[in-house]
Point group: C2
Chain length 491, copies 2
């Protein structure tokens, strides 16, 4: 049933939706650009991770065997995403006076911790750029051999104009090389390049640079773009199925990846390019200078002045999924609080559905509702429409509970199973009240002890005995002191 | 106060306790051999991780700035810890028909997940062997240059007899090279070695071997021992403070590390060697053939037939800490259940201490108790004695609660602070009942709804109204249907 609808993916390369047909079914190879680990994870990280988590989950649900590779950039990503300036991680390490790998480890751990909270499934392989220097050097050597890169003073640059004579530089981003040239001015430290469009494959390390490796061109470190080509090739082959990342990586990062792959192997790296759109906060671009740069930690604790309150990770996840991944997404307190309420309604309906009783006939068309859900998710992962269909199910569940509609046993099972499939397995939304449970237990026990006290005063020993027995089964022990009663878990 | 006692560490190299004096205070470099990630984590992993977590925590508590490096072995560890046989991870990958790095990633994730449950702090840097091939090749080249390794058919071996002419092979393990030679027979595939004691630094990859890298000796992969020398040198320098690991790694792994360091840099890798002892289960060695190989997942869920019940991760942690790290530790259901009770007593005393009221004078000597605690932990991390002192504090807290002893405000503060310091910060024991809370809430609500039903039947509307109001404050909403009552959180 679920396969009656064909998955379509919007391919950034062709700029249109295409039917998804993996190169080597049932296997699917997917590579997604992960974080540069020099700062605390923020909403941008969450949106990209959740977008491709959705893709991963849906492909698994369709029965594909997915190898999902998401990298950790721990070297080579220079300031302003350019070929000049300091390495982002080395700079943080210099400021904090620690070893760069301690910075990378700390922020990689933070990234994992927060993605766990957001219920993002772990990728199949999570390679580190610094752990694949040899593979990067090998591809740079291959590109030099193909005549499309050149060495200058211990650095190696990709020759964009020469490449463009043979292939099309700009085919992903739609940039026109003549326009790019017209708009580029020479920047300090880039005078080694033959063309300002050329980009570094390998950079000579200055004497103070800590992160350095031996290479055929002397000690240095890899350029930012080459790591993804090296690691995706190693774990997924020269051409794989899906390459994902944030829209901000489309140019130059992904454009350069295509150029590198074409230069080294004469092949495109992947069949489908997917890009998630950006996030704005109250209509403004997120940025440190605008004081609206909110980390995930701040969202989860409510500690940023722009936030009215703390938001549960599932609220953030649901909010992100309420927009289509290719639309921009604007965060505001109002919108988040609306998402919080909406998510609660979904979960309530799921619980209520569990308690529904089957009848002789169905007055609702569950199969057609399910088909609409599948059509939505298969249409380039259209989660806003899927979620609208799920709210339609909420309405149905309420009518069923009120006895205004009815379902046969088969239809009721299908409804419950599909609610679980879309909400929990595909959208990855889980209920977790454990954090609050301890406080609730405390409150309930207070109420129970009050009732027991009054029962005793009224010599209603039947009630006080029932309480003691029931609590005992829950391994709760009551302790009566002279003028107070306490309780504890009897471990 | 806490520094009045000097930390002593039993050094496996000198076979005696030594005062701990870091090479470059306040910095401490510590390297611990982490897991070979090809199987689910078990008690042995837990014991080593918890032992060095204790060391890490105590050093931090003493104010040292600790760089703690614990590696992930994802390549080069061959079967039977020898230089022959299949790579452990490659074998698992072959059996499961997936890419070796998927195996490594999966089990590294499992390891992290279970260590988190055991409240083991993350190390400062967690380098992967496969991510440091260049560094390993560089050290092998250095050892060849020093004349202490030789290449045969694309493999490189460390020349143990030649090394032993200059240095002492066996100084850590106490093994005598002549005895080792007498007890070794030539094994298949080892005929390339000049001496059966020689060990592989680099192995030529057979054509079917997936994990392979280019090297000056052709395509191959590193030997098992060289990764630790390469990664500890890279992140901690040629000689650092503490090297830890399980007793099973002392020979040959750590003996070989010393030989490699001495050969490459003419220095010992570290000042203090620490080894945690092994685990037995009901008096027997743990092993897959004995059907007593219990994974952490099985302990936490109680799913192994040898287990009476599920054990909470904190019970496992406390149980491990109840023995000194250099003693063997025997797991049994009885011992674990005793640990469970003991831990519960500690936590109860901590809570009770919070409620104690200060008096005019102290009848107990808290400073001297604190001194005994510190003496215990500083004496080569003698946790069984520390825990005995903590149980003495339990006794004191109970006497204080009963009014049989008294403490001034200062002493009471010290008692509470030190209980927290030893139990929570140093031993890393935390209370967490959240997993069970949801079930308890369910049970308590059942009881409350029963009481309410009876109250209504008895027309005791005062009680039923109290219940409704109290629950409403806890955001719990009662829903009365025709013949049943349900409840839900009113989010």
């Amino acid at each position: 049933m679920t396969n009656s609808v064909k998955l379509q993916i919007y391919n950034s390369l062709s700029r249109k939706k295409e039917i998804f047909e993996p190169i080597n079914p049932p296997f699917v190879g997917m590579y997604v650009c992960g974080p540069t680990v020099y700062g605390d994870p923020h909403l941008g990280h969450a949106r990209s991770a959740i977008t491709f988590d959705l893709v991963f989950r849906y492909l698994l649900e369709l029965g594909y065997k997915v190898r999902y590779v998401r990298n950790i950039t721990d070297v080579g990503h220079l300031e302003n995403d350019s070929d000049s300036g300091e390495d982002k991680i080395a700079k943080k390490a210099r400021i904090e006076q620690i070893e760069p790998m301690e910075v990378a480890q700390y922020y990689a751990n933070r990234y994992h911790e927060f993605l766990d909270k957001l219920n993002v499934k772990k990728p199949s392989i999570e390679p580190h750029a610094s752990g694949h220097i040899m593979e990067q050097i090998a591809i740079v050597e291959q590109i030099i051999k193909e005549g499309l890169a050149y060495e200058v003073n211990g650095s190696v640059y990709f020759d964009v104009p020469k490449y463009h004579q043979q292939k099309h530089y700009g085919k992903l981003s739609g940039r026109v090389i003549e326009d790019l040239l017209a708009n580029t001015r020479d920047l300090e430290g880039q005078d080694e390049k033959r063309s300002p469009l050329d980009f570094a494959l390998w950079k000579k390390a200055a004497p103070e640079h800590i992160m350095r490796w031996k290479s055929p061109w002397g000690e240095g470190f890899p350029g930012w773009h080459i790591e993804c080509t090296a690691m995706s090739t190693k774990y997924l082959g020269e051409t794989f199925d899906i390459h994902g990342g944030g829209m901000d990586l489309l140019f130059p990062h992904h454009e350069c990846e295509i150029a590198q792959s074409q230069a080294a192997s004469h092949k495109d790296p992947c069949k489908y390019w997917m890009h998630n759109n950006m996030i704005t906060i109250n209509g403004q671009k997120m940025g440190k200078s605008l004081n609206n740069f909110i980390t995930l930690a701040e969202f989860f604790t409510g500690s940023h002045p722009a936030l009215d309150k703390a938001y549960h990770p599932m609220t953030i996840r649901f909010f992100i999924l309420q927009a289509h991944y290719r639309s921009t997404l604007d965060f505001s307190n109002e919108a988040l609080q609306a998402a919080e309420k909406g998510l609660s309604r979904l979960f309530k309906a799921m619980h209520l559905a569990e308690k529904l009783i089957a009848k002789d006939k169905s007055t609702l068309d569950i199969a057609s509702w399910q088909q609409r859900c599948e059509t939505a998710i298969a249409d380039d992962f259209n989660t806003p429409i899927l979620i609208a269909e799920l709210f339609d199910a909420v309405r149905m569940v309420n009518l069923l509970a009120e006895g205004k509609e009815s379902l046969t046993s088969n239809d009721l099972s299908m409804l419950k199973e599909q609610l679980n499939r879309y909400i929990v397995r595909i959208l990855g939304l889980t209920e977790d009240i454990s954090d609050e449970s301890a406080a609730v237990v405390e409150g309930l026990m207070q109420l129970i002890l009050d009732i027991r006290k009054k029962a005793k005063e009224n010599k209603d020993y039947a009630t006080s005995d029932t309480i003691r027995e029931s609590l005992s089964k829950l391994k709760i022990k009551i302790k009566d002191a002279k003028d107070s009663t306490s309780w504890e878990f009897d471990v």
